[in-house]
Symmetry: C3
Subunit: 325 residues, 3 copies
């Protein structure tokens, strides 16, 4: 169902591995079902996760842990900062780490990897499924899936959506993973809105051209805020050296202002992977188009769906069948 | 039962929110019951806690986790150092953090907050109960509750108790939370024993005056050790710049010495929130009046009682009814 | 069964406390049984562990947590870095810490202690069993047990085994704990292979002499690689100031090279406590004599056996009886 390269295991390593039927026939309806279900369940009773975060990412880690817990599974071990705390700090290779962890009979490993590419390396040697919860500046596939699920829940489709991606576009796994995934849909229109120094990478532009996704670059959100279905804001990653000039800080240029709200379509939505800073002022929260907290919550449902599909592959189809009746 | 401001949720944010009947009719008898019960139980089966500590406080965190575990509940996620590890480090507001965590369907959040006032802010936006496990230099309400429970267990009452509070009195949540709570009782006598530079704050003195609690200040424990029912020792918080002069280090002045033991009432007790340093030498432990380890253990029972009252409000009254028969 | 000094509790503090019948009649057969058992079980249902690591040691901690989890027990609280995060950082004595943790009704404490000797001190005051998961540069008894189990699984005996211990021999708990344990067997032959500056300590040499264990020192693995049944490699602990000269870095001298593999006995094995660095190149992994990942996995089974023996002492003998039928 979820295939990564030629492994027989359902690893989740990069966005591109997901085919559209997997999204529309499995992940999204399962996430819907889980979201609408009132009671908790025990689908994953007897399964054990290792939550291995080489770098802290409390939000992602808490949502995976809660997803496991709500399905009746167990997070048997959780580390927040393995790069600093584990033998990885003593120079151990990712292959050795995974081989050793494999000896401990967990059913699944959710990993945040410090180095780009380490999720794929981990999958190569692992005999249990790996879910990539972010690897360096490379990918963060479950973020892309929850982003798409959020768009799908709102619009009932992803094809023909117009998306403005705003802010620090050259530094993020999130943007990269999302853009790669959007390449699979048709009639998508992308507006990249960023300061000159934070433009999206050429690799992504080439990928989009190859997949015939229409894109343009802008330096003011005001120019296209009235056209977009989705305004996807991102944080300026000051910790990686990104800085805005006074001019770039003009409200509404790379941030949401009252004027943005005034010209946006009534049916459009504002998304953000969070945490946010000044790019979305707090007063925006009460606008019905503010969708970022819903988006965060969707992360739980998408991750629950993935865990279910990976750890109990028979249950998803069973639920689907019942839903169709 | 436990009301915080006008929220419909049973948050635990500050000491003052507790009315005396809540203590005497619910928390204390429930804690007694839990303490005396031999077997473990499953009262909280199916409930999930997020243990969110922005600053490390291993003792408080372990007691909350064990309390949850012993009642059959689950700590679904636990972070020891969220200020450093989570998106809080990227400047996220406490409101955003709580709103996002709210999306993950936990039943309760136990939080240690780096900033004074953040527990109250968290409660304002949260749709699940929050227990404040300490917010900056502001409050630590469950510490005050376990302190009172310890006094109550020993003396069968809190009214008319004479308490010496000794040591670093201007730096602690513990002292502040306890003093505010004592304002609710009658005929309390407080002796504040501290170096000039570590005197208790004027806000507390005014609060006590307003509630007609009698207090005096001393600079030598020896002067009143023979009068107190409770000698409540605290640690000099050197990490916040507090230092004792050689003179102030005289044994028995701001510490327990053999002479203190000699002049103390036979029925009095020595308390300490722990960790201790030189203010209570180890030989004191074998004195039957040394009560600090019992006090620490009482923290478990009080926290179990609170969790039960918050997460399964119907069970407490049921137990009370059975006990009365 | 497992006795530490005159405590009535089955603490695991140092290698020497284990008598050979405990190994051969209880720990090893139980570990075998657990390893070969297909299903998971609930032997430890209702038991609670505190995993108290003053210093990070993610591997040891994850294997204890998984061991508990696979047996149906609960890790009710886990800290990765208590030296930095807990009140230990505020100067609390190990006795106070243990006395307080004892008040929280866990059934067992697994502890990594920063200071040599603190595991024994902890056992002195604890009313629940303590398992030493390493105390300073002193001991790491469960590592020694899993090492012996690995040798036993391979050779069906430990007596008359020839073991080369290679690398940084004066810095490790692992080597110390293993050497002390080997003193209990007969006809053992030890080859210590290390740079002059990293020779094994005189205390161990004296212990071995006293127990009539034959040992010699070498400065080149090539000299005895053809004789050993077990080549036990260790990492040069650069973080403690150990450095190899260019000469000492010659492949095969204090590391495994192709030549080592060529001259080794076909039935011999290579062990390593891991993490490894350059002392075992990756190409060695595919040699059938590479045993270090098996060794790591054995750690899980040995720890499961110990937890079972300590927390449910009646179950082990019951299983043994069934196996004999």
């Amino acid at each position: 169902m979820i295939k990564y390269q030629d492994s027989h295991l359902p690893h989740v390593i990069q966005t591109q591995q997901f085919e559209l039927p997997t999204l529309f026939d499995s992940i999204f309806p399962l996430a819907d079902h889980i979201r609408l279900e009132t009671g908790k369940n025990e689908y994953l009773k007897g399964t054990r996760m290792i939550s291995w975060f080489e770098e802290p990412s409390t939000r992602t880690q808490v949502s995976f842990s809660m997803a496991m817990s709500l399905l009746g599974g167990e997070v048997s071990f959780s580390t927040e900062n393995a790069s600093q705390f584990s033998s990885r700090a003593k120079g151990e290779s990712i292959s050795d780490t995974i081989k050793i962890l494999n000896g401990y009979h967990a059913d699944l490993l959710v990993g945040r990897f410090a180095k780009a590419g380490d999720a794929a390396k981990a999958a190569t040697v692992s005999n249990i499924p790996i879910i990539n919860a972010g690897d360096g500046n490379n990918q963060h596939p479950t973020q892309a899936l929850l982003d798409l699920y959020t768009i799908f829940r709102k619009f009932g489709r992803i094809d023909s959506i117009k998306i403005a991606l705003v802010g620090d576009l050259n530094n993020g796994r999130t943007i990269k993973s999302l853009a790669y995934m959007l390449g699979k849909f048709s009639n998508i229109r992308l507006y990249f809105v960023s300061p000159l120094s934070m433009r999206i990478g050429d690799d992504i532009k080439m990928y989009l051209d190859k997949h015939e996704i229409s894109w343009d670059e802008y330096d003011d959100l005001g120019n296209i805020a009235s056209e977009a279905d989705v305004i996807y804001m991102t944080r300026i990653q000051t910790e990686r050296g990104s800085v805005l000039t006074d001019d770039e800080l003009t409200p509404g240029r790379f941030s949401i202002s009252q004027k943005t709200l005034d010209i946006m379509q009534p049916g459009a939505i504002i998304m953000h992977p969070l945490p946010r800073q000044q790019e979305i002022p707090e007063y925006v929260d009460s606008d019905p188009r503010a969708h970022y907290f819903v988006q965060a919550e969707n992360g739980l449902y998408v991750r629950m769906a993935l865990l279910l599909m990976i750890l109990r592959p028979a249950i998803g189809p069973m639920i689907m069948k019942q839903l169709k009746r």
